[in-house]
Symmetry: C2
Subunit: 436 residues, 2 copies
């Protein structure tokens, strides 16, 4: 069964991205190739932003660069008005290069080094503080720099969301944040009040990633707003930025349904509204950190079939030129990515295949037992929904060069990341004197 999301089309049996035929793209740019659809990214941003901004006066959507930190992608989102959620100094630099001002950035992570904190403070980036020691480090750095730091605390509301354990970040045992239930989060706020150079502006949580039901978000809002009220009542602290993190997923499997941001917004905003009205609190800015939602389904990995191989008793293997090197999600999370033969969309998907990558490792497959059109050598295979955590988590296992990335904007296409060469892989290697 052929399943294409609505932003893709088929023409003469070929997959169309934007207005361009992937067979032409493969000819022009080679394979394996990441293809990103600019208009789709803009569409997703607008939908997300509208869902919240139509219900609440002050909303800032910070694109989570960890999903895809390509500079062109960051620029697209910046041009839509997005801020940036960064989790390393390098991501901060990319966001700055894209033109995002520090005041529209938030710096996340459990291990922010002194030099990273310095960069954030100098650029007036809001820091989501993750531990007491980090708070002390910030106070020390600000004293030295004679600057103030805008901070927020990452709190851990212990919300259960049904997702892969590796990306379920809101559970109590996770490495992130301050525990809410035990009063640890409250203590963090109290400690910050004693400090001279930190300005407490926000509260942050992140309950996970790839969540497709609204309930966990509502629970998150409820738990966080309860802490906001407690801080107001006991410490007279006003939280002006509620950073609810990311987490809205995308449907990877054909049977999965999209989670409409309007549904999430309706529930979360209701909670914030009722609490602020009831307690007579000023209206905070609502901040969000979507990554996957923004760019996940705009990306396609375009690969070519090198060989097919029949083996008794198992589905025929097809070997494509990208594997767990280019896209590690299937191997790492057991993630499903939909696959189609991109030059045979009009054929029936009547044949069962295992889809292997080019690496010398059994874990190197992108799909097993997939129904596809009959596959032959040199066919093009499209792997869908790879715009997030695709190239961003790619590696060079068996010294494979990583794919190029092409950005498609309607009828235009340009390289936004060049294909790696042998030189790119080895330029950092050097030989000590005694081995020359």
């Amino acid at each position: 069964m052929l399943i294409l999301k609505s932003h893709f089309k088929s023409r003469n049996g070929n997959l169309i991205i934007g207005e361009l035929d992937v067979v032409e793209l493969a000819k022009r740019f080679g394979t394996p190739l990441y293809v990103m659809d600019e208009q789709r990214i803009r569409e997703k941003y607008r939908k997300f932003y509208a869902a919240f901004s139509s219900r609440w006066p002050s909303v800032l959507v910070c694109y989570a660069l960890k999903a895809n930190s390509n500079l062109a992608i960051a620029k697209i989102l910046k041009s839509e008005g997005a801020g940036a959620d960064v989790s390393s100094d390098n991501e901060m630099r990319i966001a700055l290069q894209a033109g995002v001002p520090g005041t529209k950035m938030v710096f996340n992570g459990n291990h922010k080094s002194p030099s990273e904190l310095k960069l954030a403070i100098e650029n007036n980036v809001m820091i989501n503080v993750d531990s007491f020691q980090e708070l002390e480090a910030i106070e020390a750095i600000t004293s030295k720099l004679k600057l103030r730091a805008r901070i927020s605390f990452r709190v851990n509301p212990d919300v259960q969301a049904s997702t892969h354990p590796y990306i379920a970040t809101g559970l109590r045992e996770s490495k992130f944040g301050f525990d809410v239930a035990s009063g640890q989060a409250f203590s963090a706020y109290r400690r910050a009040l004693d400090m001279n150079n930190v300005e407490v502006v926000g509260m942050h949580a992140n309950i996970g990633s790839q969540i497709l039901e609204p309930e966990p978000f509502e629970e998150e809002a409820r738990k966080l707003m309860a802490l906001v009220v407690e801080l107001k009542e006991k410490l007279n602290v006003f939280i002006s930025v509620m950073d609810f993190g990311g987490g809205i997923g995308i449907p990877y499997k054909p049977e999965e349904k999209e989670l409409d941001p309007n549904v999430v917004a309706e529930r979360m905003v209701s909670v914030v509204k009722s609490v602020t009205e009831e307690k007579d609190l000023p209206k905070p800015t609502l901040m969000f950190e979507p990554g996957r939602y923004m760019v996940g389904d705009s990306g396609v990995l375009l690969t070519k079939v090198g060989y097919t191989k029949e083996r008794p008793g198992i589905p025929t293997w097809i070997f494509i030129d990208a594997g767990m090197n280019a896209l590690i999600r299937p191997a790492l999370y057991g993630a499903y990515h939909h696959i189609e033969v991109a030059n045979k969309l009009e054929n029936k998907n009547d044949f069962e295949y295992n889809v292997g990558g080019p690496l010398c490792e059994s874990g190197d497959f992108l799909g097993k037992n997939r129904k596809l059109a009959k596959v032959e050598q040199n066919d093009l295979v499209a792997v869908f929904d790879v715009g997030a955590y695709g190239l961003a988590m790619s590696n060079q296992h068996t010294a494979q060069s990583r794919p190029a990335v092409v950005l498609v904007n309607r009828n235009k296409a340009e390289i936004v990341r060049k294909r790696e060469t042998f030189e790119d892989l080895t330029r950092l290697d050097q030989i000590p004197e005694w081995l020359k």
Copy 2:
């Protein structure tokens, strides 16, 4: 409990690699830092080679570059006399740069592109052919180039070895090789005999990786030699190179025992000897492709503790500056890597910790529930046995720069791979005209 393998020492509570103190190494080169011990690599090669060459007249040990394709490491093994097992054109180029002649190389993989095959053929590299279509591709390329190709067939003997399914490559359902039981492998040899430009020299299997018991290797030898006899008797084909692949593991966990290559050699050579004598066959060259065995336990990942964090009800988290970006084996395979506080080896390991990396992802940990010496900020943490599939499989998740690699040779230490910079991460990105 402090557990150090015999090639490491402790001095004043600090870990010593070669003759050098890791506290000094961290000061001089920064963290996170991969440290490789040259003498240990040489020792492992010699032990492996001696085990087989003392029992058989013709032995070629091809170092599997996929474990660690750093040029200096390749040079060390070349200088010991090793050949190279390569699984991409880039690995072939690295091995050539290291001085390994093509005649001492073997090219593996299920997806060899035409340009990769061409490079192999031009350099007279033995090709372990993995599918019928690949065989036809080789014949086509050799005809065009007017060259001959030395080939071997990767056969799949369906040997069970207790290891992670991702690295158990000898099972019948794996993507690799020609099925032996159904006669597919036999057919491949017969097909090759009809070809003009391929010279059948070998037989290859690989039953997996990280195997710590000798039995699967003996079973492999028995199954392959049975096919050798069948080929001799039915097709009068003589197999002059028996490439038994890699697979000998290393003890990662304190309770695991080393698999002595002498034990493996004794069993495998006995099989080959008895079959060749019984059937009056010439003695083939025995070829092996160890990767992890050669370089795994010579590598240490040296990291610094940024923060520690207490959380009610769970072990204290310590956050170090390297995680699943630098070493993905724990997240990907659930692999155990032994961890010690490298500047407190004399303290008792009386405290329980979770060891997290710097990435914004819950899967980013290198160990959980580990007994360590009491950890404080700025302590050095050593993660052991990372010489294989460490940097080779590393990524730049959340735009983290990958660690530098230092080679230690007794009292000398030099960078053999420079630390990545922001420029290294972003130099391939470019902005299309319409976004400027």
